[in-house]
Amino acid sequence: MNTILMNSNKKSAGIAAVVAKNEETILAEWIREMSGSVRRTDLIKESDLRAQCAQFLQLMKDGLETGNVNFQSSVWEKTREMLGDLSRSRAALGFMPSETASFVFSMKRPLFTQVRQDSKDDAEALAEQMWIITELLDSMGLYTTEVFQKSREEMIRRQQEELLELSTPVVKLWDGVLALPVIGTLDSARTQVVMESLLQAIVETNSRIAIIDITGVPTVDTVVAQHLLKTVTAARLMGADCIISGVRPQIAQTIVHLGINLLDVTTKANLASAFALALRKLGITFVRDTQKS
């Protein structure tokens, strides 16, 4: 082992001793240090925050005692776990990433103060200890930001998926007739969901006709058209005929200009006329009860 490393091992253990000796003071000052915006008493209870701080300080002390100040090493695994949990829960609670990182950063000053008092007469030792603390706390702060970001992304992805499912409900209009109102942009991900839920519903309800209603789709370009045609083809393979409804005049014109060939897909201006056509295809007719009207 080289001397520099040995030195830093000793220094780190020294910091641990300072922490052990002044635990209460550091804790109190640290919590005071967290300004109102970091403390966010609107989002987290004072007592919970205290418990988190105490736990973190304990882990910090344990880690420093080992003499290993590389935050990526296994010595710090428990600390990483704790900070990871903290970041994830704060992301869910609605904290800002900076407020989360400040949990770690706001400990710098109280810790420095104690270390400075301890090494008053040894400037070199003090400088080294400061360096160790700074490096360690910085990588911890960065780590909270990373975890925070990842869990936010995960949350957004989950919400998007839920939204996808929500926005593509297949409704049974009649025995043998399904309707699928599509709302919004029909991109590849949406199409996959739309197609799957439609095909599944066709099988489950043993339907012969599926109406895909695009009233809620603002623009039909080549990609949307291609996705629609794919869905129609797949439905056909399952034994169901498709009618596309909600083809407004401006959409019809655009489709023609684009040169899209909707093959032999039946299209209707609105859902009602598509439904009427579906019933006719099934041989169902309605007769007005003249006696009542």
């Binding site: 603002p218 370009d221 080549t222 291609q226 005049p249």
Partner: protein, 133 residues
């Protein structure tokens, strides 16, 4: 010809295509385009924006509101991608080097009044379209 206002939007990914559609819809409505004309220019913009993202490797779009003597909307799509080796062929219905229907470029041309394309292999592609009110 007076350009009333100009704005640039980035075109890097699919959400940008959605944003451009929305913006073109807004501007064309403000300019007083009919619903049919709005839909035409929005659809053309959607096609060209997607080509810029997929084939051009991203780029920018410039939106110009023209306010006199004729009222219109001009859109300029520009990328520094691989360029199109044979523009005439690319404009042909059904021609695609990707997995599309090969209708976007020619379709966009049919949906607007003026269409101009400059493309150089290895340098990039610039498509300018104008729809008059």
């Amino acid at each position: 010809m007076a350009v009333t206002s100009t704005e640039n939007l980035p075109l890097v990914s699919e959400p940008d295509v959605v944003a451009i559609r929305r913006r073109v819809r807004e501007i064309s409505a403000q300019l007083g385009f009919t619903l049919v004309d709005q839909t035409k220019v929005v659809t053309a913009a959607s096609e060209l924006a997607r080509n810029t993202v997929i084939y051009g490797g991203g780029g920018i779009v410039q939106l110009e509101s023209l306010n006199g003597p004729r009222v219109g909307l001009r859109l300029i799509f520009e990328d520094k991608g691989p360029g199109i080796p044979d523009v005439e062929l690319a404009l042909r219905n059904g021609f695609t080097t990707g997995s599309g229907m090969g209708l976007g470029l020619g379709g966009a041309k049919r949906l607007v009044n003026d269409f101009e394309i400059v493309s150089r292999t290895g340098e990039g592609t610039k498509v300018t379209i104008t729809r008059w009110k």
